[in-house]
């Protein structure tokens, strides 16, 4: 099989307001393709490319167009603008769920989807294929002589007692701009009383707010930050960056599920299903997990004994998308974070 993979590079294809703003678009053409899969994804091309190539190894007659956009852009494209895609892959579980709930996705059933664990699929429309935990990233240098926090209580104590170390050196998502940050924050608020306490403490320490995890991790590594809370980083980056350490809290760890849905504009559910099946079977291809840094959903893996809590797919995720609820939450968060 010959590959005609070429990058269009970072191109802003958006031309007007309301139109879809793509961060990147890449086409993987094959000769004599029977079908073309148009994928809209929040994952970077570099991250996802190994999966796409492996997919084409298996299905040599399918070309792929891989477009990258933010989760908000993705949502808007599919929900409001009726953009035509065969598959939408996003880390924003809540938005994916809303797409399915509000009738913008199609159902798909196969042996592979039937084998997914119950928590990894919803309504035969939302399919999870990775499980990525939100972790605490700390700077080894900054923590010299300090105990590593193991839970949120411990973290709050640490931040309170060592303001000189952490002042201006605490990082977290800006939940107003980061959909993922908002998801983690709202899940935290559901799961623990200490979330607001922690937010207060971080606000007092003049926490730095980020839109994305990449910069946050780099800043920790460079020592600008001593600690970054609720970071979802690629395993590759986390593992390969020197001077940082990753901590999973032992009270609970929110686990984000990266999901795929078939938009109602898909040309062929069967063809889209090929990719769903491929993604559902990722756990059988450990080399791809290694290359992409995406930990696959493992049906056999039992996390019930651990602190890991996969965020539950379903209408519960709609609650924090409610405009009033979001307003209320953001107001509280801002008032906690931005203290005079």
């Amino acid at each position: 099989m010959r590959h005609f993979g070429f990058a269009l590079g970072l191109s802003l294809l958006a031309s007007g307001a309301g139109a879809l703003e793509l961060e990147e678009s890449r086409t993987y053409q094959v000769a004599g393709a029977r079908a073309e899969l148009r994928i809209l994804s929040t994952a970077d091309v570099e991250v996802f490319e190994p999966i796409l190539l492996a997919f084409q190894q298996q299905h040599g007659d399918v070309s792929i167009q891989y477009d990258v956009a933010s989760s908000a852009q993705l949502m808007r494209a599919l929900y409001d603008e009726g953009a035509e895609y065969d598959l939408a892959i996003s880390s924003a579980m809540d938005l994916q769920t809303k797409l399915a709930n509000d009738g913008f996705t199609l159902s798909f059933r196969s042996d592979a989807t039937a084998n997914l664990p119950d928590w990894a699929a919803w309504r035969d429309q939302v399919f999870a294929f990775t499980q990525e935990p939100a972790v605490l990233v700390v700077s080894e240098a900054a923590f010299e002589g300090l105990p590593m926090p193991t839970n949120r209580e411990g973290l709050i104590d640490l931040l309170r007692t060592q303001p000189e170390v952490f002042e201006g050196r605490v990082g977290t998502y800006d939940v107003r701009t980061s959909g993922l940050g908002y998801l983690f924050a709202t899940q935290d608020s559901r799961n623990t009383e200490s979330f607001w306490q922690l937010t207060e403490v971080m606000g007092r320490l003049d926490a730095q707010l980020y839109c994305c995890s990449g910069q946050m991790i780099r800043d920790v590594a460079e020592g600008k930050l001593a600690i970054a809370y609720n970071v979802l980083g690629s395993y590759a980056q986390l593992a390969n960056t020197p001077g940082i350490r990753t901590i999973e809290m032992d009270d609970f760890v929110s686990v984000m599920l990266r999901t795929a849905v078939i938009p109602q504009t898909a040309r062929s559910v069967a063809d889209s299903g090929l990719m769903i099946d491929f993604l559902a079977g990722l756990s059988e291809r450990p080399e791809l997990a290694l290359q992409t840094g995406l930990p696959p959903v493992e049906a056999q893996r039992d996390d019930t004994a651990t602190a890991r809590r996969p965020i539950r797919l379903g209408p519960g995720l709609l609650v924090f998308l409610d405009t009033m609820r979001r307003e209320t939450f953001l107001r509280s968060w801002v008032s906690s974070m931005e203290q005079p």
Binding site: N101, G103, R123, P315, L318, V319, D322, T323, M324, T328
Partner: protein, 459 residues
């Protein structure tokens, strides 16, 4: 004998009716279960919807004159506990949508303080929704809060189809079991009838005793009818037997009188012409009585051949008996009857009366057609079949008419001077055939005379 056109079967009708009842009960059961279960499922969903809507309504509050709502997580997530159904909600204050899906339809008839349930299509699926309202006081002003929560019914449909499948399975199993039981019940109910039929069928053709076997009340009229029919039949048979006996008596007694008187007169007569005439008369009497006797015998043989009353018969005993019986008759002509028997037993299965009749007719014939002072050899042999040969030294049958000899009323061409009706060999032939045997007629192999052989299969 079988009835050609039985009009249905009681057993089948009973089974069919019971099965039909079982089927109706199954269907009724199925619908009952379905209706009840679906109602229960709908009620369950309604209750959850109402609880969800109420908890949302309760979460609406006013803060410094502004209506606020912190959508309770549990209000929505509780709806996903049973199924993966889609959920929609809409919150209105004084008719103005404050959050949620503002295209979610409002019920036409709204009653404050009462939950209104509705089902309608929405975004491609059937939606079950509830509207709950409550009053909210905002700065001394009463405002109407309305909450609509809707949920698709796929889970309900799944539950319903599961219940339906279960109900169908139970209905089918019930039907099968009930049908099998009804079959057994019918079998059981029919048993006395079968027993009765078997007990009647087991009877011999001449057994006309009343049926006395225990019978259930329902069969008493039938058995009563059967018994009275058999009583009538018995009396009719007895009557006709008596009639025949009476007729024979009536005919034969005067014949006997005539014959005896003729004998007496014959003795006393002198003139040869008169004597000859009288002798002719006596012979005519003999002929008519013998004909009558053989006709009756033949009728009886024909009747009995349909329903043989078989038993094991020792052929040697049978022959000895008949030879004894006809001894005096043979003696009158100085004919010696020699009976030769094999060393082993020779047993046939047959009707005693018929076989006696056949053997007697053959031997009687032989005596009749043999000249005085001759021998008749009766020989029993066993060569895989039982062969009873009667060899005389009479004039034989001639060549041409061996085959026609057993035809009714056919007599040998050369026996006009001997009294006989010609039925003797016919009777013997009929009996042999009725027993799966044959009557063989040949000219005697040793010298003059005929050889008649009655061949019967061994028992």
């Amino acid at each position: 004998m079988k009835l050609r056109n039985p009009t249905g079967s009681i057993r089948r009708r009973l089974v069919a009716q019971l099965a039909l009842i079982a089927a109706l009960l199954s269907v009724a059961f199925f619908f009952t279960v379905r209706v009840v279960a679906e109602q229960a499922a709908t009620d369950t969903q309604d209750n959850i919807l109402a609880a969800s809507a109420t908890s949302i309504a309760d979460a609406v509050y006013s803060e410094s004159g502004v209506v606020r709502l912190e959508l309770p997580y549990s209000a929505i997530s509780m709806l996903s506990t049973i199924s993966e159904d889609r959920v929609f909600y809409r919150v209105l204050v004084d008719g103005q949508t404050v959050t949620g899906y503002d295209d979610l339809p409002l019920p036409v008839a709204r009653q404050p303080g009462r939950a209104v349930f509705e089902t309608y299509p929405y975004r491609g699926d059937d939606l079950r929704s509830v509207l709950v309202s409550r009053a909210l006081s905002v700065g001394n002003q009463a405002r109407q809060v309305e909450v609509i929560v809707g949920q698709t019914r796929l889970g309900l449909a799944a539950i319903s189809s599961k219940i339906t499948a279960t109900a169908v399975a139970i209905g089918v199993v019930f039907f099968i079991v009930a049908t099998a039981l009804s079959f057994l019940a019918a079998q059981n109910a029919m048993q006395p009838l079968d027993r009765l039929a078997a007990s009647v069928a087991r009877r011999g053709p001449n057994d006309l005793r009343p049926v006395t076997a225990a019978t259930p009340a329902e069969l008493v009229p039938l058995v009563g009818g059967l018994n009275s029919f058999m009583a009538r039949l018995r009396s009719a048979l007895t009557r006709s037997e008596d009639l025949i006996a009476e007729a024979a008596h009536r005919v034969r007694t005067p014949l006997a009188t005539v014959r005896t008187q003729a004998e007496v007169i014959h003795r006393q007569m002198e003139r040869p012409q008169n004597k000859k005439a009288l002798r002719e008369m006596i012979r005519a009497v003999d002929e008519s009585s013998r004909s009558a006797g053989q006709l009756l015998d033949h009728a009886m043989v024909t009747f009995r051949s349909d329903q043989l009353e078989t038993e094991d018969i020792n052929a040697a005993d049978l022959l000895r008996d008949v030879v004894d019986r006809l001894g005096p008759t043979a003696e009158l002509k100085d004919i010696s009857v020699h009976l030769t028997l094999p060393s082993g037993r020779c047993v046939v299965r047959g009707d005693m009366i018929l076989l006696q009749n056949a053997v007697r007719n053959v031997l009687d014939n032989a005596i009749k057609y043999s000249p005085a002072d001759t021998d008749i050899v009766v020989q029993l042999t066993n060569d895989g079949a039982c062969r009873m040969a009667f060899m005389d030294q009479g004039r034989g049958f001639g060549e041409a008419d061996l085959a026609s000899l057993t035809q009714r009323f056919s007599r040998g061409a050369n026996v006009d001077d001997v009294v006989g009706s010609g039925l003797g060999l016919t009777i013997a032939d009929d009996v042999a055939r009725a027993h799966g045997g044959a009557l063989e007629i040949t000219s005697n192999t040793e010298g003059a005379g005929a050889c008649v052989t009655l061949v019967l299969p061994l028992a």
